[in-house]
Amino acid sequence: MSAYDVSVLSVIGINVILAVSLNMISGFCGQISLGHAAFYGAGAYAAALVMIGSGSLPLALLSGAVAGTALGILVGFTSLRVRSDFLAVTTIGINFLFTGFVRKQAWLGGEMGISGIPGSGLGARGNMMMILVFAAMTIALSVYIGRSWMGFAFSAVSEDEDAAATLGINAGAYKLAAFGIGTALAGLAGGLYTFFTQFITADAFDFIFSVMLMAMVVIGGIGSTWGVAIAAIGLTLLPEAIRFVNDYRLLVFGGIMVLVIRVAPGGLAALARRLARGDAK
């Protein structure tokens, strides 16, 4: 397995964690979040600083998750206050706030970013294995939550908050939980990214990337863990697969996004369900 394959698989793993965690917030619980990259970034910066300070891999990853969830719960509180239409734009705002703030702080590296972050000690291959293990655990957690009482409560909140209240479900608490869990995982992914590149700049956590993550969720099928995971893999591999059309890359990528949504608006999950039903005739 070449260094290139290792690097691609590493990024695939990270994107799977990000997409599946976003799906918990936006898919399971219906809270549209277009700023997921901010939590990813918070985790990455926290992990970088802690690693430079302490040199401890577990501590760095933990800090990443904590930073992600701290910011996430803050945003979760705003979701209680604003309507769903507005929430989407508020989350965009969080993304810009995060990058805008980080780029001006010298202690966070400012525009230069943080460079020379110590390695994890596992090597590139070891990092990849670590990432893939976490990705698998994320998928497992997501599947478990989807089937649990919490998942039921999430979907109740997503469908109709008032009706959920009649069932004794505290919508506010569950929204916060969704944000809390989803962003903790995003922060963890940030820590993993830090060890992958050993060099982070605010540009990696911009609004455009948040939109790409949402694209993975939508194309995968909102609410479907497996669909979203596969979409994450596919959308990460796609630019690599079409690298030979170097000059027209974004054109093809945008075109494929449009095509897939038009052909399968319910996402891959809905497509799969349709095919399965069709075959069972």
Binding site: S7, G110, T201, I233, L237, I242, R249, L268
Partner: protein
């Protein structure tokens, strides 16, 4: 119950398998033959595509000319280009591809700072030689001894600007406008650090984003400052509108811009307002140099627009690499590295390279252009090298 699930899994598996197969097919490179491969990374798409495109054209032109002349060491040169979109993760992917799939040992990186920096560590670890044509992140060269940089770092450019404004233009009160990115900030930092040495008082500091094209509030503030001069860092597509708006707003003080202002498009955007603008560390297009004039004409023919700094430095990067290979009589990266490090008095298109320091940063005078009659002409050459010496560790 299992039936539909297994069908789903098998369908999903087929789709995934198909995607992976397509990926593998696309990634497998053809076998190499007797050619010297020069890897090339540039932002061909994305926000930095203007520079990436220029760099690509210039690099290919250099390769074609060398091959037309018989190649190097009896072999033809082959450019192996990849688009890194000026993004660190793409830089890492493409760097790994160059090393693993294409078996490349010598690379010219014609990308921006962050992507150059990310690629640098990958190449250094693999013992691959990299020349960064114009990326200014300081840690590109600190990544290791296989790294070289052909452009002045941001801070030395800023220091040279302070020298120029203070000693050549004799201006005292300056309004400083920074573009918010690594390049803009690093250059301004150098200027601010050296300003007091030359009697410059920075009246006020302002900043703007790469995507800004309207600078109304900065113009109003500069008018209030009433400075002796205005220094701004940025690219031609921000500098052009900025100059135009400053003049339209009634600011008559001289405007001094940073290296990336150095493009004919700046003059097109700003129109008559561009007249008299100084650009520090710019490309002397008027040098009485046959090679330069030929480059100019050939690039214009290939690209349809005149070359700017990025094109010139990338072209020179390829040629310098070729020169080092010839001197080392080998394409082995360690030998080429030593030949490069030993370079003395080589004529880059952008100036006369005196040599590299211990950190493989360039030691070279800095040219300042001025816009005169709608064209860039050289105004002065700053050769007080100690005033803007790059770091050497």
């Amino acid at each position: 119950m299992l039936h539909p699930v297994s069908k789903f899994v098998s369908r999903a598996g087929t789709i995934l398998g198909g995607l992976l197969a397509a990926a593998v097919l696309a990634l497998t490179a053809p076998a190499a033959n007797a050619q010297i491969k020069i890897g090339f990374q540039a932002p061909l798409t994305g926000f930095a595509a203007t520079d990436g495109k220029s760099a690509m054209i210039a690099a290919q032109m250099a390769i074609d000319e060398i091959n037309a002349d018989g190649g190097l060491l009896g072999q033809k040169l082959q450019l192996v280009p990849y688009d890194d979109q000026a993004k660190p993760d793409q830089a890492i992917f493409t760097a790994n591809k160059l090393i693993g799939e294409d078996g490349v040992k010598l690379v010219v990186n014609a990308s921006y700072s962050a992507s150059g920096r990310a690629a640098a560590s990958v190449f250094q670890k693999a013992g691959v030689l990299m020349i960064a044509a114009y990326g200014v992140h300081p840690d590109i060269t600190t990544a290791g001894d296989f790294m070289f940089r052909l452009v002045h770092l941001g801070p030395p450019q800023g220091e040279a600007t302070a020298l120029f404004i203070g000693k050549t233009l004799h201006l005292k009160r300056i309004s400083a406008i920074t573009m918010d990115n690594d390049y803009g900030q690093a250059t301004m930092d150098g200027f601010l650090a050296a300003a007091s040495k030359y009697g410059i008082q920075v009246v006020n500091k302002y900043s703007y984003a790469l995507s800004d094209r309207q600078f109304g509030s900065i113009v109003a503030s500069v008018k209030r400052d009433n400075p002796d001069g205005v220094y701004a860092t940025g690219y031609f597509f921000t500098g052009g509108p900025l100059i135009s708006q400053l003049r339209a707003g009634g600011v008559t003080a001289p405007i001094i811009g940073s290296q990336a202002f150095d493009s004919a498009t700046l003059i097109k955007i700003a129109g008559p307002a561009a007249e008299g603008t100084y650009v520090v560390d710019s490309f002397d297009r008027g040098r009485k140099d046959a090679a330069l004039q030929k480059f100019f004409a050939d690039f214009q023919k290939r690209a349809g627009y005149p070359p700017e700094n990025v094109a010139a430095i990338t072209y020179s990067a390829i040629n310098l690499m070729a020169d080092a290979i010839t001197r080392a009589k080998s394409a082995d990266p360690a030998k080429v590295r030593d030949a490069l490090a030993a370079t003395k008095n080589y004529a880059l298109l952008t100036g006369d390279l005196i040599g590299f320091n211990k950190l493989h940063e360039i030691i070279m005078p800095i040219n300042v252009n001025v816009v005169k009659d709608g064209k860039f002409v050289s105004f002065v050459k700053l050769d007080d090298l100690t005033a803007f010496a790059p770091p050497d560790k």
